[in-house]
Symmetry: C2
Subunit: 501 residues, 2 copies
């Protein structure tokens, strides 16, 4: 055993397999032969005291790996703290015990809290391959988890991470379940709520399938890559922050699950609830307002589904000590005018600055969200929260607070607009009758958002608006001619993205 | 769009990701940036007319890929018929339509035949990533498929491949669902049945989790990598063959599903039925005998589960025009004495040669299987099949037929035994009361089987045998000292692999 494994030395290949640990071996390496390792096998890799489990890929090309060498994916390289030339030992993986629990779930048994803890801990410790995670997600999807199981999953996910401690009894937070382009209320809401004196340590995600996440949007004006210590000092100083959740690492398991879930495009209500609430609990929140936009082309398509989600969020939230208020909102069209990081932050700034042409729908929605937070946090219970939020916004204090938070995060910079534009014109005169959120978002993606932050769609035809033939209904923004061409060519294959009656 | 994609040229990396198509791109490549591709994304790769869908891995190491270069996994390289320096075009993948059907199944809806056809065709065309396949397998596992769905899945899998045509009305076949070490009746059964005049074009698999598959076992004495034309000519000449199924490529989809299923270790009754029967139908079989060993440490653990499988095999078989006879057999201990390719073929040869010390249990089971095939094929209905099988075996004609088939496949060679051995002794005197098939199989794997064909376990303590203290109960065979040490060290951590009462 020794004689074989001492032969393997690490070579840095720099292959990023997106989180999943992969080990690269030559087909003719003695360990591979004697152990009967085949591609897709799971192998235990030990470097000194550090042990990980990795999936095997075989490298045939003899110039990439020399005899006696092995490679690791970037994530695995980091996990065992590897240096070029380090020795590793390989062994067959004992089956992951908690996959028994997953199999039990596949057979439609109910899982209890300790079963979910075993699974979540094994996922946290990177013992699951992507296909095992996909199997777990599938087994929990659809309506396969009941409310007790969702509670258990949420608790297990909270226990797998750490919880930020604040020395205040009320910590507020907000979350939108997404799916509605331009619905970027966070910069405004955080500014109002923090200005009102509440603590709102907001962490946000980057876009994965949408044209912009709140983190992408805020990144166009300030630094969002805060570590935990910086985030805490920003919040202690200003009462709020707008940081990228990934840099804080509040819920490592959730990050792993989401990666596979998005690739699968399998929605799981139970996992969504657990994901959102575990992150809020980990951030130390006590009161959370959740926005569920409902519309034909939003993420949630019916009032009934929204009510079910509302029930789950409220009851599961309570079981983990969170007070949750759910707002079911209109998801029939984009919010504001900009779709894409720079275009969205410009809408927010325009609202914060009380500019006369600021998008009114964005302003109203932000005031509503902020107002609910102020009211239900019980700190301002004798006042009208919505009026208070409106006053703070219109006084200009929210704009000052926004700039102060940006400054605390590393400084405020003006977002840079895109240089290339393409106007999309109405094909006929009439009234805007329906808007396909999904395809509007897709055009913004094709134009380059969020990787090209100034790219996206500037939307100028809300529902009910009367337009003339050849009037501009939206404008595509791009940072390069190629991307502009790419998105405008997509339009040629599409009909009725914006329907005119 | 053109301007960006013309920049990518292929470089051969020689990375084998075991079937799944993977494309390797530099993080700084313009396509990666402008398209917002992230690792785990699925991308359409076009080389001339050839199009595939691949998962993205990002390569950070700038010496592996130069600017403007892209790499493909071995399978993807082959699929697009790539040459070093070929130009490729990349585009975002339109969502795979049939994943809607998979999602519908997750929501516990029933799928009809056309839904299964869409899924199976997309899997055949490599449109599914491993995690999507894992999701499909999970959604169909447990008891999630009813008998109608299993029929539909089986039909879809048959239609996705081609069916071998024979100009005979009766084509027989056998299959054992596996899980019982040493249960290697195929070489004997095929020899008897072909000698009796029936057509038995037997294809077998290689071991994945077991110490030996029939293909590995036959490979120790002859060539099993037959292409379809060679296989047909062997069968036309000798009435039977023993070929590796993988080289014939009868059921491409099944090979893909099995790969992920084994890695997941998720059993799916529905998929097992569809897998076995679609391969039999593709081989042109009309009559199939299926062996289901039942035992505490076999694959099927209860009589009840075996009866359910029997019902499924029979009814689904009928729906696709196969006459299926199921034998539920004793799976409480290994069959014969050898476990591992060479050790097993030596048992078979000993039975075929009618050597006085040939393992009687293997002989009896082979005669039973062959007898049933002879009887139920209706060709010998007036005779006692088991007596006929016994007569053929004991006359020496089966041994002649075995040699003739080997000769037709490329020649017979003597299997080479292992040079290293380790005797495991009884710890006390008593009667053998229980045998753990799984751990016996594991020891054989650790000793090197099936990659070292002579490695394995020679088993000498059947249930009920009275043994003395320090009597040899089994012997480990290895081709190297390292492997012998590896397997014997495992024993130190284990208790009661063979229980003595």
């Amino acid at each position: 055993m020794q004689e074989r494994t001492e032969l393997l030395y690490l070579k840095e290949l720099g292959i990023d397999t997106n989180q999943e640990y992969v080990i690269f071996l030559r087909r003719d390496c003695p360990v591979c032969k004697s152990e009967g390792f085949i591609a897709l096998n799971r192998i235990e890799v030990a470097l000194g005291e550090n042990k990980i489990i990795a999936s095997l890929n075989i490298i045939e090309n003899k110039t990439i790996l020399q005899k006696g060498q092995a490679g690791l994916s970037q994530s695995a390289w980091k996990a065992v703290n590897a240096k070029e030339g380090d020795k590793i030992r390989l062994s067959h993986l004992q089956p992951v015990q908690s996959m028994h629990d997953v199999r039990s779930k596949i057979y439609e048994n109910r899982l209890n809290e300790s079963a979910f803890q075993r699974i979540i801990n094994d996922i946290k410790n990177e013992k699951y391959s992507n296909i095992e995670i996909a199997s777990f997600i599938t087994a929990c999807s659809g309506d396969h988890l009941n409310i007790e199981e969702i509670k258990s999953l949420t608790k297990a996910m909270i226990q797998a991470g750490s919880v930020i401690q604040w020395n205040k009894s009320v910590i507020v937070d907000k979350h939108c379940i997404g799916g509605l382009p331009g619905n970027r209320t966070t910069p405004i809401v955080v500014s109002i709520v923090a200005e009102a004196g509440l603590i709102i340590p907001k962490t946000s995600s980057r876009a994965i399938t949408s044209p912009a996440g709140t983190a992408d949007t805020m990144e166009t004006v300030t630094n969002v890559n805060l570590d935990l210590a910086t985030m805490k000092s920003v919040v202690e100083q200003e009462g709020g922050c707008m940081a990228w959740g990934g840099s804080i690492g509040l819920s490592p398991v959730d990050d792993i699950l989401i990666r596979v879930e998005r690739a699968l495009e399998v929605d799981s209500v139970g996992q969504m609830i657990a994901s959102v609430l575990s992150k809020k609990a980990a951030a130390g929140s006590t009161h959370v307002v959740i926005d569920i936009p409902v519309g034909k082309t939003a993420k949630i398509r019916s009032e009934e589904d929204a009510e079910k989600l509302k029930y789950y969020f409220t009851v599961v939230g309570k079981s983990v000590g969170l007070k949750v208020k759910v707002i079911i909102s209109d998801g029939s069209q984009p919010i504001g005018r900009g779709i894409g990081p720079v275009l969205e932050i410009r809408d927010c700034i325009s609202v914060l600055k009380n500019e006369p042409d600021a998008p009114r729908d964005l302003k109203e929605r932000a005031i509503l969200m902020a107002g609910y937070i102020l009211e239900f946090s019980n700190v301002f219970k004798r006042q009208n929260g919505i009026q208070l939020a409106k006053d703070i916004l219109e006084s200009g204090k929210a704009w000052n607070k926004f700039q102060a938070i940006c400054k605390a995060q590393g400084g405020f910079k003006d977002p840079k607009p895109a240089q290339f534009r393409y106007d999309v014109l109405s094909e006929k005169a009439g009234i805007i009758s329906e808007i396909d959120n999904r395809r509007i978002a897709k055009i913004a993606r094709l134009a380059g958002a969020p990787n090209s932050p100034a790219a996206g769609v500037y939307f100028s035809a809300p529902l009910g608006k009367r337009v003339q033939k050849d009037e501009v209904i939206y404008t595509i923004h791009s940072e390069s001619l190629g991307e502009l061409e790419y998105s405008s060519e997509y339009l040629k294959t599409q009909k009725n993205i914006i329907a005119i009656a």
